[in-house]
Amino acid sequence: MKKIYQVNILLIVLLISSGCSSLGVEPWERDLLARKEMALNASPIDAALDDHIYFSKEASSGGRSFAGGGCGCN
């Protein structure tokens, strides 16, 4: 099961990286991408608060950024 996931993820990575050279926009086509709501982490404060909750309550952390040390939260 675990192996299948890992192979799938590797395939996704390869597909994305092989397609990268033909992707993208010209600088004058960045009107939508430049908007605040299109930032990958558009609400960093919300993300920080969520990370703290899920870090304390689940066995997984990180992904978007560092998994980190943190707190003795229960």
């Binding site: 996931y5 990268c20 299109m38 558009a42 960093p44 689940e58 990180g62 950024s65 040390g69």
Partner: protein, 439 residues
């Protein structure tokens, strides 16, 4: 800032503008005095974009019958010349309430010695044993500095410190990004190191030792192995961000995390039961002293005509055999001058190899064991809703409410006797409410 003051700000825009300006100058003065720099005098021709930008939030997190937490954040960012950014963040949180200690529910009243060794607490018949002694205030500071090295390279460095009554965490991080292909492709490499120290009241319990009977035995040296312990964490992150077209952007990250040291939770215990499911005694839990985690995180954002969808997926696997999947989707819809944003999150994890909801007293003593539901099999759901409204001068006020539910599952252990009559895998429900103000 008081909650009432924030509401007042929303209702009285003109007053809000003045108040916000006052608040901003106050916070700017405070930030500058902390940094040892001078505040620009009023009326000085300081460019608008070079002002401090503040993001503040106050969050309430409340579980039914368990933990309640209140967390406040003040983050300040300033752009200096040449795209250099300095970010400072202060987080304060306060936690009170009860947390499951790992012991099984029983069809009779159970009495436990408090982890500190001071006094006992009783748990009613049929209820999940909760240790109600959690009460802590935590202070966290973060600082980061980002600056371009050359046209294509950007470097970022950061510091992290968090302190609560019995816990200290210190960290530093650095990352380097390189832009390619007219900045349509960005490759990042990051590194972080943390040092955490825990000093629980009453000391570090002796792992796997039998807890003292609260009625007859007191704590002695056999129950404690020291006053504090520590762990170190090394994180490495590799990421690629790709602009797909005018409407879509995608990110893919791979993270590796290596944690070494004291990973046991000193407050968690495991019940040892007989063939009838009746607790004979409890032991202190013990987790391995290292953990290696890997994760792959994929995020896509797509801008439709007016709405924006944000989808992310994380797959995490580690050498504790905890595999987890996290799906998260947010959909931002413009509404008047503001926006609404529904949020859905689904999380599922498999149990750690050493997770046992209880142990049988006749079984061979395990090398590692934990009955903490947070390392057990679990599904969790979050349903949320956010409303954001822009105010004058680029300020924004937003409200967020979320419902979070955890459903622990039995990973396949047969429940002897009385354990079939009680709920060993009780759901946890929590409400999250947040108000944010940026100015």
């Amino acid at each position: 800032m008081q909650l009432t003051e924030k509401i007042e700000l929303a209702n009285q825009p003109r007053l809000a503008k003045n108040k916000a300006k006052n608040l901003k100058s106050l916070l700017t003065a405070a930030t500058c005095s902390l940094l040892g720099t001078t505040v620009p005098a009023n009326g000085q021709s300081q460019a608008e974009e070079n002002q401090w930008q503040f993001d503040t939030a106050l969050m309430y997190y409340g579980e039914s019958d368990r933990v309640t937490a209140v967390e406040g954040i003040i983050a300040a960012t300033k752009e200096f010349d040449d795209e250099e950014f300095l970010s400072l963040k202060l987080t304060i949180d306060s936690l009170t309430g009860a947390s499951a200690n790992g012991a099984v529910a029983q069809p009779y009243v159970q009495t436990f010695a408090r982890p500190s060794g001071k006094g006992t607490f009783a748990v009613p018949s049929g209820e999940t044993p909760l240790d109600d002694t959690f009460k802590d205030t935590r202070l966290q500071v973060n600082a980061s500095w980002t600056r371009p090295l050359t046209t294509d390279y950007t470097i970022s460095t950061g510091l992290h410190a968090s302190k609560e009554y019995d816990y200290l965490s210190l960290g530093l991080n650095a990352s380097l990004t390189r832009d390619f292909n007219k900045k349509n492709t960005t490759v990042a490499i990051g590194f972080a190191a943390f040092y955490d120290e825990i000093e629980p009241e009453g000391g570090i319990p002796n792992p796997l030792a039998i807890l003292p009977n609260p009625q007859t035995t007191a704590f002695d040296d056999s129950h404690r192995i020291g006053s504090s312990d520590n762990k170190t964490t090394i994180d490495v992150l590799l990421g690629v961000t790709q602009v797909i077209n005018r409407r879509a952007i995608m990110q893919l990250n791979y993270s590796f995390s290596m944690v070494d040291g004291y990973l046991t939770d000193p407050f968690k215990i495991v019940s040892s039961v007989d063939e009838l499911g009746v607790t004979q005694h409890q032991i202190y839990e013990k987790r391995p002293d290292s953990r290696q985690k890997h994760s792959v995180f994929w995020q896509t954002k797509y801008h439709f005509t007016s709405t924006v969808v944000d989808f992310s997926y994380r797959y995490l696997w580690d050498d504790w055999e905890i595999n987890s999947h996290t799906f998260d989707v947010r959909y931002r819809i413009p509404l008047g001058t503001g926006y609404i944003e529904p949020h859905l999150r689904y999380y599922m994890q498999e149990a750690a190899e050493f997770y046992r909801p209880f142990i049988n007293q006749d079984d061979v003593s395990p090398s590692y064991v934990s009955a903490d539901y947070r390392v057990g099999e679990m599904n969790a759901y979050t349903l949320g809703f956010k409303y954001g409204m822009p105010l004058k001068n680029g300020q924004e006020l937003s409200f967020r409410i979320e419902y979070y539910q955890q459903d622990p599952e039995n990973p396949g252990y047969e429940l002897p006797g009385v354990l079939q009559e009680v709920d060993l895998f009780e759901s946890v429900e929590a409400l999250i409410a947040q108000i944010s103000y940026s100015f």
